[in-house]
Symmetry: C2
């Protein structure tokens, strides 16, 4: 999936910021790609960028209208259709993070056929994938892996890309989930790929680089210890053939998200990821810990991170509170 | 996927036994489900069972015509369509192991709609799966895992089921690949499931048993060490929550099937499968080694298996040459 930029962010009439989380994330990480937002009457979300009509967005060079919102039920509300058809008629591509496919609506499908515009459904994968090959590709790779799902792997990877670029490194975030695909303009929701092709899709997501010094900063998914999603995590680890791992963790969680399984220790997560990652990269090593300390007071968080640093001999940080500078520096100096 | 039995095996006009491997496997393991075979002019394959017309098969109580052959290109030859339509018009379901879906042919789709018969495409998954939960289910489970793909996991599981039943145990083969689905009448090609649902599909394939003494004998897929398919293997391991593992191996292979990665050692395969399997079953253990010794002379094979038995302290056998008795007995006595 490769999206044309810049974007117009379609917010529809969703009630609040939570429903527009994806759109807000795009503005946070790629403000230069967002010409404006399109809001309908009653919309309670605001990305803090210009409100534009579709015609104004086209004038500003917009190429794709992004539906970066979720509404109750995940379906496309009837009263959004007119505006989506207008965007297509104005020559824009439309990319959606909704569960339903855009082309399942006849008016949208016909409008896209009429204008020749592309419809992208980032939760779905229409691509014909190859199976993973496991052969070494050019360039360097760092993968964010987790003790659990939803512990901040995407944020960690994006914050790391930003710090690495700040240090003058040639680094690109690589997306494996829907919000990440909007943010990077390319990638795939790897959990939507047919099981045979997880590693193959990961190899496509992080292709051979043009230089030995280029870094791919790859968004992780799930956890090798999650009883629902570990297969996705292992295929992604193999296909990514990372040189370096960052372990993401949320310290107050007791059980894995959505199930009753207890959280593994950080050490178990390091050990199993290194053991499995060696298959395609014998030199794989762990370079740091990224902890979501939101539930802790600032001093408590600092104490906890200091304890982890001592225990694991690795930089431990909260990417939101304290940034990723030390881990980025470690990648710059150590590889 | 749940198929109605008994079957009529459709062989078309494939040139040889290799192309009818699936059908031959069904007759080998489930002769009581095969009322006969249907062959067209020029067919060079023979399952060694009665040649029947579709009408004769119906008279003998047949419920499903199984297309258990592959032809060049994996597509459905035009000159087979008439007979498939006749089977549907005669009230039979049709199940196919071909890559293309039966309903993609308009005449077949219309015939199925006309008669109300079911079309099954065992290489595809239309089912809505749940994600894996990881909670303990009733009954006992043994999973065949491999050092590589195509080392005899399906044969091992079927031979083990046969031996266990021979010992009076309540055991059912559980299918995770297309030939296995035909042989068990139920199951799913787990590599065709969307990545998010591998473990969930495995939980459905091996559901809660009605008694504590019931054994599911689960067909493995891939290998945790295969750079293309390890994600499938891990999701299957988690979803199967096995009490026991049988390790399958082919001793003359140097690199993993289809890639350049070296084969892992048997010890590595035991260790990683136990480490990962503990997530959903802390008591998981390895009960034996099943080796495909086809490439060795009989005495050489016996010597190799004796060496493995001594080295790993586990029964080592070739299920084709020497059967699975000792491993079945170990499951009977040890759990």
């Amino acid at each position: 999936m490769e999206l044309k930029t810049p974007y117009l962010l379609f917010l529809g009439d969703v009630p609040d910021a939570l429903a527009a989380k994806t759109a807000i994330g795009i503005v946070e990480w790629r403000p230069e790609w967002c010409v404006g937002q399109f809001r309908m009457e009653g919309c309670g979300a605001d990305c803090g960028i210009d409100d534009l009509s579709i015609e104004e967005a086209v004038t500003r060079g917009c190429k794709t209208m992004v539906i970066g919102v979720v509404n109750a039920g995940g379906v496309l509300p009837d009263h959004w259709i007119d505006n989506i058809v207008r965007a297509l008629d104005a020559g824009l591509d439309v990319a959606s993070g909704l569960h339903m496919r855009l082309e399942d609506n006849a008016r949208i499908r016909e409008a896209a056929e009429r204008s020749g515009a592309q419809l992208h459904n980032v939760r779905h994968s229409n691509r014909k994938w190859a199976t993973g090959k496991g052969t070494k590709r050019r360039g360097k790779r760092v993968l964010a892996v987790g003790t659990d799902c939803s512990v901040g792997k995407k944020y960690t990877a994006l914050a790391l890309e930003r710090e690495m670029r700040g240090l003058g490194m040639d680094a690109d975030f690589r997306a494996t989930g829907q919000t990440g695909v909007f943010i990077s303009g390319r990638g795939a929701a790897i959990d939507a790929v047919v099981a045979d092709f997880i590693a193959g899709a990961a190899e496509w997501i992080s292709p051979a680089a043009e230089s030995d010094d280029h870094w791919d900063v790859i968004e992780g998914q799930g956890s090798l210890f999650h009883p629902s999603f570990a297969g996705v995590s292992l295929g992604l680890l193999h296909g990514s053939q990372p040189d370096a791992l960052v372990i993401c963790h949320e310290p107050t969680r007791k059980t894995m998200r959505g199930v009753e399984t207890l959280l593994p220790s950080i050490q178990e997560v390091i050990d199993l990821n290194l053991a499995c990652g060696r298959l395609n990269n014998p030199d794989i090593r762990c370079v740091g810990l990224a902890v979501n300390t939101q539930a802790l007071e600032e001093n408590e968080a600092k104490g906890y991170l200091a304890k982890l640093t001592a225990e694991y001999g690795l930089p431990a940080t909260d990417p939101v509170r304290f940034g990723m500078r030390e881990i980025a520096q470690r990648l710059k100096d150590g590889f």
